[in-house]
Every structure is written in structure tokens, then in C-alpha cells.
């Protein structure tokens, strides 16, 4: 069972700071650089030919998995480096943390068009699309992993740190024997979440296709899209089965064993109630060959590596107290250079934006409003069904035992993979795309909510439930006084993630090419997609920035205050 914990993921910063302004400028500059590059993007981009034959499926599955693996490894390296720098260097921390906070709430998918266009102007088309897909997945995966690693590093109990200092660990040994093991559990959980989220973005990237520019990539996502677009039900079913098979298989032979192995890194000094189990891990850990490899190859190698590194970087007599932050000259110079570049880029962006007439801004504003409406409806519908069902599952062990695995498999299918199938069913109706967009958002968001509600309901103490029974509260009072308040923190945690997913979905959902026709509805996602296909870079930049600003503002004001309320008032402790 995926565990959702109510952990204060948001740093205790005020709603907006001067740093946010700088970051906004930097983002604008970056997007502007992308659009400048995109000016030279070819007007017509031919997509790949997707074969619907059964024999092509394993190949496509491998391509998709390969992209995921490459992106995940990059994310992991990025997380380790970024988290380590932020935790060990006060100057870096001041810049990196606020940046991380903004980046993890930005709708990542809105970057896709700019990145795709920018890259395809300098690289061959298929390479550009591959890299763009991987960059996109990395930007969706890295933030929570980085944050988890950073948080682990800064919460290592002081006595464990002091022990490392007293026994004169060198930096490498401190990293491998203390910091990495301490962070392992959090990293594994977040890796699993990131991996699951990655499929959503991979599928979106594989089917991205606007006007004459076809950025699709050969893979399972494109296969499903072509199959649905041709109305080939058999291929749709085969594709979905393959996708589910790949996801379940990876879960069983990669993530479950890793999770079972990582259980030894937990800090609690008591044996857990139900440690995660994995048949694969059991088999591997009992295998003779694994033991031999560990003993004859791994241990001598790691020992030699440790010794080499100790000779290179001897332990300095270091104190464990925090040192005064005094930025070095180099850091100051780098900061000034970055600020100047950002300023220049932002100036260029402003120049480009100034060319837009008021009418366009009004259109973008209305688009943002329309998308906001869809997001709100999707969230509301998701809450309406997940709260009762989640409470039912969470408070009933037997039901949970039966339903959990089923729900997990269903939830593992990325919503974007199902989107073409949805279109096949819904486009014929009036307002079909509107409906399809909401359903896509719903599918992308409801599972976060459901899992959180289940976890919240299961966490209600038995004593409180018994008391409520003894008081003979009516059903309504029972929900008002016990269940809803107890769920509140979990609901908010789930809803924050869910709304982020819904905004992302708008990019692929509001403008589609299906079965040779183009469908569009009003919304900021549609504006971004149309601007991409028509090479209208000013509008592309304006709409992307507007979307980011809206989402960040909603996060910083609405969600953050609800989160505070949940943390201060409704936490069960």
C-alpha cells in the first residue's frame, strides 16, 4: 500500500518574498530564451510512423521504459547534487530552496511546447523530441525527490552527526554511512511517486502534436493514440494491457524489492508492525550468487574506493555546529552574473509581451478562467466520490484487503494514456472535448485524493471512533465532528497534489488532433497549443507565464493557508 503521510512539505515562508520576484524574472528569462530559439524551429515537423502490429508492442514498451529510466536516473543524480548543495552550503540554501518551492508548484507540462520548439531548432527533430520528453519527465520527477533528500539531510538527529564527527568520518564516509542511508527511505518513497507521475508526462510527451508540427515519439503513448484515432479497439486493448503489464512488472521486480530492502534504513528502533514484503527481494536476498557477488566483488571494491577517497579527501577536524554563512567572492560573482542574465532575459520577454494587443490579454485571461473552472469542477467531483469511498475502505480492513490491489492497478494507468480512448468515446457528444478535458483531469487527480482519504480514515484512532459510537451521534454529526475534521489534513495534502495534476492536464486536454481533425475548446491550454502550432511566440510566452503565475498564486495563497490550518488545528497528535 502506498503510504501517504501528512508531512509539512511547504517551508514556513511568507506567501511572497523578494526571492519569488527574482525567480519569476528568471523563469520569464528562461522561457524567453526558449522562444527566441524557437523562432528558427522548422515550420513542418513530420512525426514518426506508428505501427499497430502486435510485434511492435514490445519494442514500443522498451522505448517508453528506456525514456523513463533515463529520466529517473537523471532526476536521482540531480536530487542528490541539489539537495546536498542546499543542505551543506548556507549561501546555496538561500537560493536553492525558494527556487525549489516555486518549481514544484509550476505546471510542468506548460514548458513542453517551448522546450520542444527550442530544441527542434538546434537539434535533429527526433533527437529534440527525445530530449524534450526526458527533460519534461525530469522536471516532473526531480522536485519532490530533491526536497525529500534535502529535508532528510537537515533532520539527521544531532547525536548521529556528532557520533560521525567524534569518530572522524571523512566527507565521503559521512555521505555513504550516514547521510545517504538516513535519506534512503524518503528517497525510495518519493522515487516511487515520481516514477508513477513520470508515466503521465511521458504519455503526454509521446502524443504531443500540434498543427503541422508532429512531435510524437514512438512508444506506448503514441501507439495508444494512433490506435484510438483509427478506432482500432483491439489495438487499444492490447496497448493498454501492455502498459499495465509493464507498470505492474516494474513495480514487482524493481520498486517492491527496493522498498523491502530500504526498510532497514528506517530510524525507529522498534521492529515495524508490517514491514513491506516482496517475493522478489526474498528470492534475491537468499540467492547464493548474490551473496557471492556482494562478498567477493562489491565489498572489496567499495573498501578500495573508500580508502582512495579518504586519501584524497582526508577528514578535517570539523565541528558539527552551524558555521556562519559568508558568501564567497565566486558565489557573489555568479549570483550577480545570473541576476544580470535574468534581467536581460526578462527585459527581452517584456519587450516581446509589449507587442501583444489588449484583446489578446483579455483572451488569455478568459482562457485561464475557463481552465480554472474545469480544474475546480474536476476537484469537486473527485472529492465527492473519493471521500465516502475512501472512508469506507479506510475503516474496513476486510474491504481494504480486497479493494486495495484493484485500486492500485487501476490507479497505476497514467491518465494521459487513456485520453485518446476517452476522445474516441466522447468526441461525438456535444461539448465532448470539454467533458473529455474534465474527465482527464479527474482521472489524473482522483487517485491522489483517494489514497490520502484512505490513509486519513485508517489513521482515525479507535478510541475516538468508540467514543463517537458511545455518544450515539447521528450520522451527520458523526461526519461533522469526527470524520471530516480527521480527514482534513489528508484531504488538503491530496488536493494540493491533485490540483497541480489537473492544471497540467489542461495542456494536452484542451486542444487535440484526433482522427485527422482538430478539436479545441476555450482555455489557456488550448491557447498555448494553438500558439505553438501557429508559431505565435509572443502569445505562447504570455499564456505560459499567465498559467504559471496563476497556479503559483493559488498555491501560495489558497492552498497554503488551508495547509496551515490543517497543520495547526486538525493534526491528530
Amino acid at each position: 500500500m502506498r503510504r501517504f503521510q501528512f508531512s509539512p512539505a511547504l517551508p514556513r515562508t511568507p506567501a511572497f518574498t523578494a526571492g519569488d520576484g527574482l525567480i519569476a524574472l528568471g523563469l520569464a528569462a528562461l522561457l524567453y530564451a526558449g522562444t527566441r530559439l524557437a523562432l528558427r524551429a522548422p515550420a513542418v515537423i513530420a512525426g514518426p510512423d506508428i505501427s499497430l502490429s502486435l510485434g511492435a508492442l514490445p519494442w514500443y514498451a522498451m522505448l517508453s521504459t528506456g525514456r523513463m529510466a533515463a529520466a529517473y536516473l537523471l532526476s536521482l543524480l540531480f536530487s542528490l547534487a541539489y539537495g546536498y548543495a542546499a543542505a551543506h552550503n548556507r549561501t546555496a540554501e538561500k537560493v536553492l530552496l525558494p527556487l525549489l518551492d516555486v518549481l514544484q508548484s509550476v505546471p510542468i507540462l506548460s514548458f513542453l511546447p517551448v522546450v520542444l520548439l527550442g530544441l527542434s531548432s538546434v537539434l535533429p527533430q527526433n533527437v529534440a523530441a527525445e530530449i524534450a520528453a526526458i527533460v519534461l519527465i525530469v522536471t516532473s520527477q526531480a522536485w519532490n525527490m530533491t526536497f525529500s533528500f534535502y529535508q532528510s539531510l537537515t533532520t539527521i538527529p544531532s547525536e548521529l552527526r556528532e557520533a560521525a564527527a567524534v569518530f572522524r568520518f571523512d566527507p565521503w564516509m559521512r555521505f555513504t554511512s550516514l547521510e545517504l542511508p538516513f535519506a534512503a527511505l524518503g528517497l525510495v518513497w518519493n522515487s516511487m511517486m515520481s516514477w508513477a507521475g513520470g508515466w503521465f508526462f511521458l504519455m503526454a510527451a509521446e502524443i504531443f502534436n500540434v498543427g503541422a508540427r508532429d512531435f510524437r515519439l514512438p512508444g506506448l503513448g503514441a501507439y495508444l493514440q494512433v490506435a484510438a484515432s483509427r478506432g482500432d479497439v483491439r489495438a487499444v486493448i492490447l496497448g493498454l494491457c501492455t502498459l499495465v503489464l509493464v507498470i505492474v512488472l516494474l513495480d514487482q521486480v524493481v520498486w517492491r524489492p527496493v522498498l523491502a530492502w530500504a526498510d532497514k534504513f528506517k530510524l525507529e528502533m522498534t521492529a515495524g508492525e508490517d514491514p513491506p514484503e516482496s517475493w522478489c527481494h526474498d528470492v534475491l536476498s537468499r540467492a547464493w550468487i548474490v551473496e557471492q557477488v556482494e562478498k567477493r566483488i562489491w565489498e572489496p571494491l567499495s573498501d578500495r574506493l573508500d580508502r582512495r577517497l579518504r586519501e584524497r579527501f582526508p577528514a578535517r577536524p570539523e565541528r558539527t555546529e552551524a558555521r556562519r554563512a559568508r558568501p564567497s567572492g565566486l558565489a557573489v560573482a555568479a549570483g550577480v552574473a545570473a541576476a544580470l542574465l535574468a534581467g536581460y532575459g526578462a527585459y527581452g520577454a517584456a519587450g516581446l509581451l509589449a507587442t501583444l494587443p489588449g484583446e489578446t490579454w483579455r483572451r488569455i485571461g478568459l482562457g485561464v478562467l475557463a481552465t480554472f473552472g474545469r480544474v475546480a469542477v474536476a476537484l469537486l467531483v473527485a472529492m465527492l466520490w473519493t471521500i465516502p469511498v475512501g472512508v469506507l475502505i479506510g475503516t474496513n480492513r476486510r474491504l481494504a484487503g480486497i479493494l486495495q490491489p484493484v485500486v492500485q492497478v487501476i490507479a497505476s494507468v497514467p491518465a494521459t494514456a487513456l485520453f485518446p480512448v476517452l476522445l474516441l468515446a466522447l468526441l461525438r457528444l456535444r461539448g465532448g472535448l470539454d467533458l473529455a478535458a474534465i474527465v482527464l483531469m479527474l482521472m489524473g487527480t482522483q487517485w491522489y485524493l483517494l489514497f490520502n482519504v484512505i490513509a486519513g480514515a485508517a489513521a482515525i484512532p479507535q478510541d475516538l471512533r468508540n467514543t463517537t459510537d458511545l455518544l450515539r451521534l447521528s450520522r451527520l454529526d458523526r461526519w461533522r465532528t469526527l470524520i471530516l475534521p480527521a480527514l482534513f489534513p489528508y484531504l488538503i495534502t491530496g488536493a494540493i497534489t491533485a490540483s497541480g495534476g489537473a492544471w497540467n492536464a489542461s495542456i494536452v486536454a484542451e486542444h487535440v488532433e484526433f482522427a485527422g481533425r482538430t478539436y479545441a475548446t476555450r482555455g489557456v491550454g488550448a491557447i498555448i497549443a494553438q500558439a505553438t502550432s501557429q508559431a505565435d511566440y509572443a502569445v505562447l510566452l504570455a499564456a505560459t507565464l499567465a498559467l504559471i503565475a496563476t497556479v503559483v498564486t493559488i498555491n501560495r495563497t489558497f492552498w497554503r493557508s488551508l495547509y496551515r490550518l490543517a497543520r495547526d488545528r486538525y493534526r491528530m497528535e
Binding site: F167, P181, P317
Partner: protein
């Protein structure tokens, strides 16, 4: 020697000082209003000595230990080790931690051998030496277990074995028995004393931090008593009893009583004891972190004992740690209900009246007493002067922060709990405001 002979010879007077602290101080924060953890500590530890640093929580004894181990830098004064100023982590010292500080992802054997690995011992020898150390502390057969499979006492044995692995001269113990159950702690103390007295350990000296007075008298050659606000050394007492020491001995109890008196009997003048209001010149009195209903219980208990009772016996009877007992005693003395004399607690006439009074009278009596405290009267009058008699918590915190910094919220919490108990003022969690209790019409 009246108390008998020592099984371990007294350090010779000319024995070289292993460790010398000269006027050591540690302050956090900057400017005039900083937090002083330790002030003006001068101390020597000689070869062959077992020294205990004893004091209530917050007296800076753990900070001092970390300064000695080189984990923290003193903000004033000097630390000399064998006559040389200490720079960075002390290579000849090691610490056994209160929470054991074992790496839960390493086995018992790995936890010990990692200390050897850092010294550059080759793998084969590492294993052998670690096994020998585990054998010495009685953990043979447990080398492949993970710490979470062991009991607290066994975990601390691993902690000791790991500390021994680096062959330290100075063994620093940071409340090593306080996280253990009573029986395991007693057993482990005995084993440590046996190893130490037999000279089975290659250690020159032991420095132990504790808040347990009996433990200190049971083990140490010398007890260094510390007090808080600011953390400082009050007195040093040699303990010349022969080992093994017995708790029931009258000589033992006499020393325990003396130490108790030294720990609890810190007197201040009335003006200094009450302190000043926030904003005025001088120090604001920190309210002892005691609950007033517990104080009521203590007063009743002393009344039942006839108005006077030995502090040491009282805390043994109530099964209370020194750290829980001292704030109560301090609060009782501050409010004038109790006096402390030579390790005895006795009720003042006011305290006796309190013990005899009805619940309502008690509240009134207490309200009158705590209003004498400048901190409480400041809050009370501020609320009275306000139009709707409600003032935001932040208003008070803003004025406490210059003095207490991060501890301001804790201080205000204590003040609020006292005000609530005496029905003077209360706190509204929804609006984060303090408000005046309406006087109930009776």
C-alpha cells in the same frame, strides 16, 4: 581516611592535568541580549579520575561536554588538552551518547568496526578487533544483529564497545544510562565500574554528564555541581567512599544529601528572584517550567509529612527525576509557599495556609501570589488597559523576544498556564489572543 580506602588510587597531586578548562563560556546569538549557555567555567580533569558534571536540565552540562570533545567551539576562554590548546574535534576523546547514536542500518559488528575503519585499520583486523570488543562488553553472538533487535541496555553496550574501539584517553559519557530502564541501567553501571576499577580499559579518565545525583555519588571520584541561568559551576565535591559503594550506607546518604542541598539551594535576593518587566532594565525572571496543579500536589504532600521533608527522600518517594522536581521546588519558592534549607523542603506559613484552604480560596491565594511576579502582572495589566481586554499573543511575544529569542513562546506558554490556573487570564487558540478572565459573580 575516614570513609575507608580506595580500590583505585587517588590521582597523585602532581599527576599531569589531562584536560584544563580556563574560564570557558558559550553564548548563542549576538548583541547584548544573547543566550548564555555556559559562563566562566574553570575545571581540571586529571589522569586516573572519574569526574561527574551534575546539574538540572538547561545548566549547559551537555554543551560543556561537547566543547571538551571539540564538537563545539567555546565563545570565550580556553580548552587545553595535555597543555595544548584544542583545535577541532579532540582526537583523544570520544563520547558515549544518551540516545546511543548507533546507525540503525548497520549491524552491531559494523557499528563498532566503522570506528576502526575511520582510523584506517585494514578489513581483516577490523573484524577481529571489533569482535574482541563486543566480547569484552558481553555481546558475543550478537554481532550480526541490528540495533533495533537489541534491548536498550545492549544497545548502550554497543555504544561503549564502539567508543573503546578508538582507544580514547578521555571517555566522555553524556547521560549514558538515562534512556535505560532502572534495572538495565544499574547492571550497566556495575559493569562499567568493574572494567574501570580493574583498569581493564586503556582509558586515562572518565567525564560523565548526569542529572541523577545518586548515580554521580555512586560512580565519581569528584562531583562538579552546575546551576543554570546562566550555566555555571557552583561547587565541586570530592567523593572519597570506597568501591563498591552502597546506597544504604549512611556515609553515602550523607553525601547525597549534601549534593542535593548544593543543587537545590541556590538562593537569590528577592529583587533578583522576581526579576523585572519586559522592557525595563535588568533581567526578566524565567518562570520555572512547572505546572501549578503539580505544585499543589507537592504542597499537600509536604503538609501530610508534617510540614518538612528531605528533598532526596521526597523525590524518591514520588518517583520523580531531579529534572521534574527542581522546577516545582523553584516555583514553590518563587511563590513563597516553600523554603529550601540544606536539602530539606519546608512549608512557609503561607504554604501551610494554602494546604488547608478550600479550592476557591486556593485559587485566590495563588492569584495574589503570582501577580507579584513582574511578568504575570505585566500581562495582566496590559490586558486590563485594553478596551476589550483582549490582546494578540504576538504583542507579548514581540516584547519577550529581545530577551528570550526562540524561547519566548515557551516562556509565554508557562505564563499563560499559570494565569489560566489562577483564573487571571486565558488564551484563545482560534484568534491567538490572550484575554482577561471575567470575574465570576458568586
Amino acid at each position: 581516611m575516614p570513609d575507608g580506602t580506595l580500590s583505585r588510587p587517588q590521582p597523585r597531586p602532581e599527576a599531569s592535568a589531562l584536560l584544563t578548562l580556563e574560564d570557558v563560556g558559550k553564548a548563542y546569538g549576538s548583541g547584548a541580549k544573547n543566550f548564555i549557555a555556559v559562563q566562566g567555567v574553570t575545571l581540571q580533569v586529571r589522569s586516573g579520575e572519574f569526574v561527574c558534571l551534575l546539574g538540572p536540565s538547561g545548566c549547559g552540562k551537555s554543551t560543556l561536554l561537547r566543547i571538551i570533545a571539540g564538537l563545539q567551539r567555546p565563545s570565550s576562554g580556553r580548552v587545553l588538552y595535555r597543555g595544548e590548546p584544542l583545535a577541532g574535534v579532540n582526537p583523544h576523546a570520544t563520547i558515549v551518547f544518551q540516545s546511543f547514536a548507533l546507525y540503525p542500518w548497520l549491524t552491531v559488528l559494523e557499528n563498532v568496526s566503522i570506528a576502526l575503519k575511520c582510523k584506517g585499520v585494514p578489513p581483516a583486523e577490523r573484524r577481529q578487533r571489533a569482535l574482541k570488543l563486543l566480547d569484552m562488553v558481553g555481546l558475543d553472538g550478537f554481532e550480526s544483529a541490528y540495533p533495533r533487535e537489541l534491548s536498550g541496555g545492549m544497545r548502550q553496550k554497543v555504544g561503549f564497545a564502539r567508543a573503546m574501539a578508538v582507544e580514547p584517553e578521555l571517555l566522555c559519557l553524556d547521560e549514558p544510562f538515562s534512556a535505560l530502564d532502572v534495572l538495565s541501567a544499574e547492571a550497566l553501571r556495575g559493569e562499567l565500574m568493574e572494567l574501570w576499577l580493574n583498569r581493564s580499559l586503556p582509558i586515562e579518565a572518565i567525564l560523565m554528564v548526569t542529572h541523577n545525583i545518586e548515580e554521580a555519588v555512586l560512580m565519581a571520584d569528584r562531583v562538579v555541581v552546575m546551576a543554570k541561568d546562566p550555566g555555571r559551576v557552583v561547587t565541586e565535591m570530592p567523593v572519597l567512599l570506597r568501591h563498591p559503594r552502597r546506597r544504604k550506607d549512611t556515609a553515602f546518604q550523607a553525601i547525597v544529601d549534601k549534593v542535593y542541598a548544593a543543587v537545590a539551594g541556590q538562593k537569590k535576593s528577592e529583587a533578583e528572584a522576581l526579576g523585572v518587566r519586559p522592557g525595563q532594565a535588568g533581567r526578566i525572571r524565567r518562570l520555572p517550567a512547572a505546572r501549578l496543579n503539580a505544585l499543589a500536589g507537592l504542597v499537600e504532600k509536604i503538609a501530610a509529612e508534617g510540614g518538612r521533608q528531605d528533598l532526596y527522600r521526597l523525590s524518591a518517594e514520588l518517583v520523580m527525576e531531579l529534572d521534574d522536581m527542581l522546577p516545582l521546588v523553584e516555583a514553590g519558592a518563587l511563590l513563597g509557599l516553600i523554603t529550601v534549607e540544606e536539602g530539606d523542603l519546608s512549608l512557609t506559613p503561607l504554604g501551610q495556609a494554602y494546604a488547608d484552604a478550600s479550592i476557591l480560596t486556593r485559587k485566590e491565594l495563588l492569584a495574589g501570589r503570582i501577580l507579584r511576579l513582574p511578568m504575570i502582572s505585566w500581562i495582566y495589566e496590559t490586558l486590563q488597559e485594553d478596551d476589550d481586554q483582549r490582546v494578540a499573543e504576538e504583542y507579548f511575544l514581540d516584547r519577550l523576544r529581545p530577551e528570550f529569542a526562540d524561547l519566548a513562546e515557551k516562556e509565554l506558554d508557562v505564563a499563560i498556564s499559570w494565569g489560566r490556573y489562577a483564573e487571571l487570564f486565558s488564551f484563545d487558540d482560534d484568534t491567538d489572543e490572550l484575554y482577561l478572565e471575567k470575574q465570576t459573580e458568586s
